[in-house]
């Protein structure tokens, strides 16, 4: 009797899994319209960044001093900046910088946080205490101040910007993951894994990490948006990406200070791009959280 019940359960599950993906996609759009919108914008930005060299109408770094401060029009859809560079091309290439920094910093930061958080919860005791106090010190600084300090030490440049953004992410992710891992730690299968004679690293990486994937993925998606914003902030402050590399924060800085009245489009379009990207990643992150939270999933 028990067996037949399980058979039926498994069959039903197989059926659910076999639904074609367009149906699943439509289902997702209907149930989570905001999340779907976020996902579409994210995909849109990724495509733009990936095919920047195909899409961009002009060379983003080529100065054209006969076309300075041109208003948006047929020739330059978003206008030109103070060096006559096409703003749309710079925005398109800027997406590359933003997404590259955003994804790399978010991935490295949250992954390091994941391992540290799980290890902290698994070992407990003094190791946990010391590690968490170090994390406390890092978290005492606001994200932007921390990043500023790192750039001040390492110097600017895209690599150092990524490091500067990564470091403050680590403790945030580690803290969240640790709290999940603490509860996983108490579930008997971890004891069972120890009773099987597995070593610490195998238990942490194979048995605990996959069970705290939900908070990890949520932190990861949230961090991408934050990293884009941080990169823009650092570039705006002159500590991030340097000219002439196209970066949204840098374009904002050049435009906002001097030409806010005479050529506002120089600042408006990069600002819109930053806003849209961060907004999209946040919506996407919320949808991911809802999808991974078992309490919300059933509704």
């Amino acid at each position: 009797m028990t067996v037949s019940q399980i058979e039926v359960g498994a069959e039903v599950e197989d059926l659910v899994q076999r639904a074609p993906w367009p149906v699943l996609l439509m289902d997702m759009i209907r149930r989570k319209p905001l999340g779907a919108a976020g996902a579409f914008i994210v995909v849109f930005f990724i495509l733009i960044a990936a095919f920047a060299n195909v899409i961009a109408p002009y060379d983003p770094t080529a100065n054209a001093f006969d076309r300075m401060h041109m208003a948006p029009g047929a020739e330059h859809w978003f206008g030109t900046d103070q060096f006559g560079r096409d703003l749309m091309s710079r925005l398109i290439y800027g997406a590359r910088t933003a997404l590259f920094v955003g994804f790399v910093a978010a991935f490295v930061g949250s992954t390091l946080g994941l391992v540290l958080g799980v290890a902290s919860a698994y070992f407990g005791g003094l190791f946990d205490l010391v590690l968490q106090r170090i994390m406390d010190v890092f978290m005492a600084f606001p994200l932007i101040i921390m990043a500023l300090a790192v750039v001040a030490i390492l110097g600017s440049g895209i690599q150092n910007v990524i490091i500067a953004i990564t470091i403050p992410f680590i403790p945030h992710c580690a803290r969240v993951v640790r709290s999940s891992a603490l509860s996983v730690r108490e579930i008997p299968y971890i004891d069972a894994a120890r009773a099987c004679g597995f070593g610490h690293s195998r238990i942490i990486l194979r048995h605990m990490v996959p069970n705290v994937m939900a908070p990890y993925l949520i932190m990861l998606t949230a961090f991408v948006g934050q990293a884009i914003l941080l990169e823009a902030s650092l570039s705006y402050l002159g500590l991030g990406v340097q000219e002439p590399t196209p970066a949204w924060g840098l374009m904002l800085q050049g435009g906002a200070e001097e030409y806010a009245e005479s050529a506002p489009w120089i600042a408006i379009f990069p600002g819109l791009a930053i806003t849209l990207a961060v907004f999209a990643f946040n919506l996407f992150g919320d949808a991911v959280r809802d999808a991974l939270d078992p309490k919300l999933r059933s509704q």
Partner: protein, 375 residues
């Protein structure tokens, strides 16, 4: 040692008939016999010999003497039951063997655990990891939570095989299939690819047993293996464990509070109370002729179908003692109907009352007469 090898060969034949998986037979023949090199001059009688084991938990409320000087032995192929109520230290005692006590707050503070003549308490972490799962395996109480939800059944089985025996993936897969067949899981091929949530509690416990058996250990510790299962499944699982351990010559320590389990499946019984073993003997002998008031109380508090139906069961009054505040006397004294003055001052030692039957009670001799009168 020789017996282990023989039974192992027998098992290989039996299991290959079961699943028809004859081609996977010749894998690392005979490793089970030389897993632990013995120091010279040590004669091995018992498979496992626990001597005066003390495990304590250091908490803010005080030191909990969870296991307070227990000694027992397990012979190769034998089934030994550890019986007692919740919190009497039976699980802690078993976890101490594999050194799985969470530290802090727990610590093994004294005694010796000799497995094949070698003291496990002196073994390094790496040596312990090699022993766990390969020489001594464990079956946990909760089949619902003892399997990792994100790994397939097959992966959880093959992981141990690859880890301890260095098997290749295809070999391990074939062996996993064979093991699932052995523990009576239908359609094992499909089960290998499924996740724990696809399986019922009884099936999961079968998988746990398969995992415990996969490296052909010499000892399996089953910590209340049937408590979380419903009654019909309990009997099946116990029969399966009994059958497999007998067939493969694996010794089994069953930790339980279910006296029915003990009577039917154990060769010898250790009754624990407040961290101490208070009675030991042959399972049938303890049932027929309990020589400790606690064991007597336990037997009387269980409904029995072979006795005239009474209106009410006869429970043991009172609560088990606070393990942080034990005095020198017998811990069962406040609940004991047979207590005398001496019980308050002196803890009786576990002494032979009748051949292989041991009891730790000043009144052990008086108990026989009283009990006969009562029943």
């Amino acid at each position: 040692m020789a017996t282990t090898c023989q039974s192992w060969i027998v098992y290989r034949q039996v299991s290959s008939i079961d699943t028809g998986a004859r081609e996977i037979l010749p894998f690392r023949f005979g490793y089970a016999c030389n897993a632990l090199p013995l120091p010279n001059g040590v004669s091995v009688t018992a498979l496992l010999e626990i001597e005066d084991l003390r495990t304590q938990f250091f908490t803010s409320a005080g030191t909990v003497q969870a296991v307070d000087g227990i000694s027992y032995t397990v012979e190769p192929g034998e089934t030994v039951a550890i019986v007692g109520e919740s919190g009497c230290g039976k699980s802690v005692g078993a976890l101490s063997i594999l050194q799985l006590i969470p530290d802090p707050p727990g610590r093994i503070v004294g005694g010796a655990i000799r497995f094949q003549g070698r003291d496990l308490l002196q073994a390094s972490d790496q040596e312990m990891r090699d022993i766990r799962g390969r020489d001594i395996a464990m079956v946990f109480q909760e089949p619902m939570t003892s399997l990792n939800p994100v790994l397939t059944i097959g992966r959880q089985l093959t992981e141990t095989l690859e880890h301890h025996l260095g098997m290749s993936r295809p070999d391990a897969d074939a062996r996993a299939l064979e093991l699932l067949g052995m523990v009576g899981i239908s359609d094992p091929k499909r089960r290998l690819r499924q996740y724990p949530h696809h399986l019922s509690g009884g099936m999961r416990q079968r998988v746990m047993i398969a995992m415990a058996l996969c490296c052909e250990p010499k000892l399996i510790i089953a910590d209340e293996p049937t408590t979380a299962l419903d009654v019909t499944i309990q009997a099946q699982i116990l029969e399966l464990m009994k059958d497999l351990t007998k067939r493969l010559g694996v010794a089994l320590i069953v930790i339980t509070h279910n006296l029915g389990v003990v009577a039917r499946y154990a060769d010898r019984v250790n009754v624990m109370y407040a961290g101490k073993i208070i009675e030991r003997g042959d399972a049938g002998e303890i049932y027929r002729n309990p020589r400790h008031p606690y064991t007597l109380g336990l037997l009387r508090s269980v409904p029995r179908m072979d006795l005239p139906r009474k209106d009410k069961l006869d429970p043991i009054e009172g609560q088990p003692p606070d393990l942080t505040r034990l005095d020198g006397g017998c811990p069962f004294r406040p609940r004991c109907r047979f207590a005398v003055d001496r019980c308050a001052t002196e803890m009786p030692r576990l002494e032979a009352v009748d051949g292989e039957h041991f009891s730790a009670c000043w009144q052990a001799d008086a108990l026989t007469a009283t009990e006969r009168v009562a029943s």
